[in-house]
């Protein structure tokens, strides 16, 4: 196998298979580039539970110290928790050593600025130029900073922030029975504390041992959560939650054990937020039109961005949106807590709605706009992408299109979105329609078209 997909250094940062590809030398150099970029000062670093995380954290810390930064080690923590802590002040930036939902052999660095936000596209390209130029700051003995640890403050801060936006007393009074699958990830300890102690739930938890490997495919989707679904049923839970290894994403199972579409989870949260505060909504191009239907009810405007958390957050900050996210990825972004995907905020909002309405999750979900969705991927050869997109556009003459990330063709009551993956030579295909028949017809037509083009 050729190595090109096993290591990727790009404007998205650095990601790869640990061992021959993502090496400590690379991580150290990237840490030194980051430290040079943010300047001498405090930098926060934490990680998820991957077996390579400790090694990479030390390599990055070495580079940060060499550039003259002081390092605050927050240990194993969810990505949103690290971001909240960075934003709480005093730090020049932060890093999370995590490959998020990717398989365990991968690892990566997520990069945050002083506000605890993902570096924006301009900052990222400056950083990557600095990395490639190898123009690092080299601190001398009297400029080298210390490493301090702070494992507890980020947890307290994040939980406290989330609780400010829900009626925690009401949630506690309901004593919900909650199933949790934390994939032995970064939230393993904190999610138990959050649900059990902060929200007074009766918790039935599986895969909450941070020392053990991921027990399932790390991405929380209906297909990967059969164990959680079974647990909800067998333990008679009101709801089931599943996180990914760095706990930015959340999947939800209703009281019957049915795992909701990730788009429906976002829709439930958006509905709950708009009910209480009016404002704009930002989602990516692949997110369900259910969001538009809900937003219209509250007179809110919906902005669409290219796929990727950084794009959504950038647009949310620019428009002052109150809620946003990435539907298919299970990411809820609520800037009043912090402008990042956050499974803890999402859990709190779902429980808050259950407590407020007294309704089970299944009936809350049943009232969402009814749409059918299908996702897939098609491999392509380099050089073929343009022709594929052109053929697609030409086959729907007169339809409304959006070219900001691949091609989205929009009809009344249906759409299809085709975009090239950032990491592999394949196109991702997403389609949605207001009936299953229409969906199958649209999806079938487009996938045949792509395979032929």
């Amino acid at each position: 196998m050729r190595g090109e997909h096993l290591l990727k250094i790009s404007v998205s940062g650095i990601r790869g298979v640990v061992g021959e590809f993502l090496t400590p030398a690379l991580a150290c150099a990237f840490g030194q580039a980051f430290g040079t970029y943010v300047g001498p000062g405090r930098v926060v670093i934490g990680r998820d539970t991957r077996s390579s995380g400790e090694m990479l954290q030390h390599a990055v810390t070495c580079g940060l110290l060499a550039s003259g930064c002081e390092v605050i080690d927050v240990g194993v923590l969810p990505t949103p928790t690290i971001q909240v802590y960075v934003a709480s002040g005093g730090a020049r930036g932060g890093l999370a050593v995590t490959a998020s939902h990717n398989p365990p052999e991968y690892n990566a660095l997520k990069l945050f600025n002083a506000r605890g936000l993902f570096l924006n596209s301009y900052e990222r390209s400056e950083l990557i130029d600095l990395y490639h130029q190898s123009e690092f700051r080299h601190a001398t003995n009297d400029e080298i900073g210390q490493v301090r640890s702070d494992y507890r403050t980020p947890v307290k801060l994040h939980i406290q922030r989330v609780l400010e936006h829900v009626d925690a007393a009401r949630i506690r009074s309901r004593r919900f029975r909650v199933a949790l699958d934390a994939v032995n990830g970064a939230a393993s300890v904190m999610a138990c504390e959050f649900l059990r102690e902060a929200l007074g739930c009766e918790l039935v938890a599986i895969h909450v041992d941070p020392a053990r490997p991921f027990p399932r495919i790390a991405e929380p989707r209906p297909e990967t959560l059969t164990e959680l679904a079974a647990l909800v049923r067998s333990a008679g839970c009101d709801v089931g939650f599943a996180q990914d290894p760095d706990a930015d994403r959340l999947a939800v199972a209703d009281e019957t054990g049915r795992v909701l579409d990730n788009d429906d989870v976002l829709a439930l949260v958006v509905e709950g937020v708009l009910e209480r505060r009016r404002g704009d909504v930002v989602v990516n191009l692949t997110t369900s039109s259910a969001i538009d239907v809900i937003a219209r009810r509250y007179g809110s405007r919906v902005w669409r961005t290219p796929v990727g958390e950084a794009h959504v957050v950038e647009q949310m900050l620019a428009t002052g949106a109150v809620i946003g996210g990435e539907g298919s990825n299970g990411g809820v972004i609520f800037p009043a807590v912090h402008a990042c995907r956050d499974s803890f905020t999402a859990m709190a909002f779902i429980l808050d709605r259950m407590a407020a309405t007294g309704e089970p999750v299944s009936s809350l979900a049943a009232r969402l706009p009814r749409l059918w969705r299908r996702f897939g991927k098609v491999a392509f050869e380099h050089g073929r992408l343009g022709a594929m997109m052109q053929a697609l556009e030409e086959s729907f003459p007169g339809a409304q299109t959006d070219r900001s990330d691949g091609l989205k063709v929009i009809f009344d009551g249906a759409w299809v979105h085709v975009r090239a993956s950032n990491t592999e030579p394949l196109v991702r295909l997403a389609a949605e329609a207001d009936s299953p028949e229409r969906l199958e017809e649209l999806y079938g037509k487009v996938s045949r078209l792509l395979e032929r083009a």
């Binding site: 077996s51 390599a59 601190a139 001398t140 080298i144």
Partner: protein, 454 residues
């Protein structure tokens, strides 16, 4: 970049942090060492208090974990403690992070094999080859090592010292110790609290940036702060350690600073009559008093090129029981009962034991040796001229006995000189020694010739 701010050699990696030695060197060297060691064996690490040590530690940990080794981090400890812990754990090896007697802006990595022993020249050469090739055995994600910290390594080390030295007897001495802001202060505190050793410590705060003085064990440094305190405090002796406590220097109860050259002859005199070993291994730059001391006990001096590596290689050429002591003229000595580890603390305790056994004061013991006078100088190096220079000198002084294992040494009865190129600085080192008064005439003649030829 300043000239000679980075040195990668058989001794390991050494450089000025930020000026020559970078994070990248550290990571690559640690990966190379992890590749050299037997797979999956634990590695013990520790550091001296230099501020940059934290950066080097992070890089060393990352490189070792990435090559599949578990890492045991001892924090700030002396090099002999690291070597002791490697053996105690049966670990695969160890890394000492610290630049010993160099000034604060320097740092270095020193590598140890199983049993805490120094790498042989062959092993060190292999390490360098792996480093230069940068073909490291980086393991898959689920084989990556784990880190743990250990805080009681000094305690275990001190327990071992207690097995060799009679603290009941040594605690009646009152000593003054200059810790040079280094790791010896931690060990001394443990010796004081557990065995009531009476030590008055100066410069005992661990310091990362500004050392109280250059951390060298030379007579000049002993004279600076330590020696003047010994007599007013009514102490029996003064001891000074370098930052990582593998070297020691002395001052007498009279407050007289003792030449660093004297540590080895003193302990050779103490150890030769005790064991079966009759060999003293040292380099060709240390005092000729050693031959006299060895002869008193029927011993023999083996002289090797200057530098730690030559002494380590020589060690393996003899059976351990043949050797009485190994050392340099810098105050670095290894004793058989400490498995030939350079250990300043053990050397100090051996000197105190000698005083106790003989019932003599330190100045009295020293007065028993004939006087030797040494003169040292250094001149700027012109590498290209060195071979001719040495050849010319050999021709000019053709009436002496020639040794060419490291530069040029010429011996006459009761008198010798040695001219060599330093391994750490771009200078020519010139040493002359004579039994009795200083060999002033020879020294000046020699300097004149070297100046002219270089």
């Amino acid at each position: 970049m300043a000239a000679r701010s980075l040195r990668i050699s058989h001794v390991g990696l050494r450089g000025v942090v930020g000026g020559g030695l970078t994070a990248n060197h550290v990571i690559d060297f640690a990966c190379a060492f992890g590749t050299l060691l037997e797979p999956r064996q634990a590695v013990v690490i520790g550091r001296d208090p230099r501020a940059s040590g934290v950066m080097l530690r992070e890089g060393v940990i990352a490189g070792l974990l990435a090559t599949g080794h578990d890492v045991v981090d001892l924090g700030i400890v002396s090099t002999p403690v690291i070597q002791h812990t490697i053996r105690r754990h049966g670990a695969g090896g160890g890394v000492s992070i610290g630049a010993s007697h160099n000034s604060a802006e320097w740092n270095a990595l020193k590598f140890f094999g199983p049993g805490g022993i120094y790498l042989s020249t062959a092993e060190a050469g292999e390490l360098l080859d792996i480093y230069h090739l940068r073909k490291f055995d980086l393991v898959a994600h689920d084989q990556v090592g784990k880190l743990r910290t250990e805080t009681d390594a000094i305690g275990h080390y001190v327990s071992e010292l207690a097995g060799h030295f009679d603290f009941e007897r040594l605690r009646r001495f009152r000593i003054v110790v200059d810790c040079s802001n280094g790791t010896s202060s931690l060990i001394l505190r443990e010796l004081e609290s557990r065995y009531q050793l009476q030590a008055i410590r100066i410069n005992d705060r661990l310091e990362g940036i500004r050392f109280a003085h250059e951390p060298s064990t030379s007579r000049e440094i002993v004279a600076l702060q330590l020696a003047p305190l010994v007599k007013p405090l009514g102490a029996d002796a003064g001891f000074l350690f370098d930052v990582d406590s593998d070297r020691v220097a002395l001052a007498t109860e009279e407050g007289e600073p003792v030449s660093e050259e004297m540590v080895l002859p003193l302990l050779a005199d103490h150890l030769l009559p005790k064991g079966p070993g009759k060999l003293v291994i040292t380099n060709i730059s240390s005092t000729a008093l050693l031959e006299e001391v060895a002869a008193r006990h029927g011993g023999k001096v083996i002289r090797v090129p200057v530098g730690r590596q030559a002494a380590i290689d020589a060690l393996t050429s003899y059976r351990p029981e043949q050797i009485a002591i190994v050392g340099e003229g810098t105050g670095a000595v290894m004793m058989p009962e400490f498995r030939f580890v350079y250990d300043g603390i053990a050397a100090m305790l051996a000197v105190l034991t000698m005083m106790a056994e003989r019932g003599q004061r330190l100045s009295e013991i020293l007065a028993d040796y004939p006087r030797y006078s040494m003169l040292k100088a250094q001149l700027p190096l012109v590498s290209a001229r060195m071979p001719e220079l040495l050849m010319e000198l050999q021709r000019d002084y053709s009436d002496g006995v020639v040794t060419r294992i490291d530069g040029l040494r010429i011996d006459w009865p009761g008198r010798w000189f040695h001219v060599r190129v330093s391994q750490t600085e771009p200078v020519i080192r010139i040493i002359c020694e004579q039994r009795g008064d200083p060999p002033q005439e020879l020294f000046e003649d020699l300097l004149e010739r070297v100046r002219r030829l270089a």
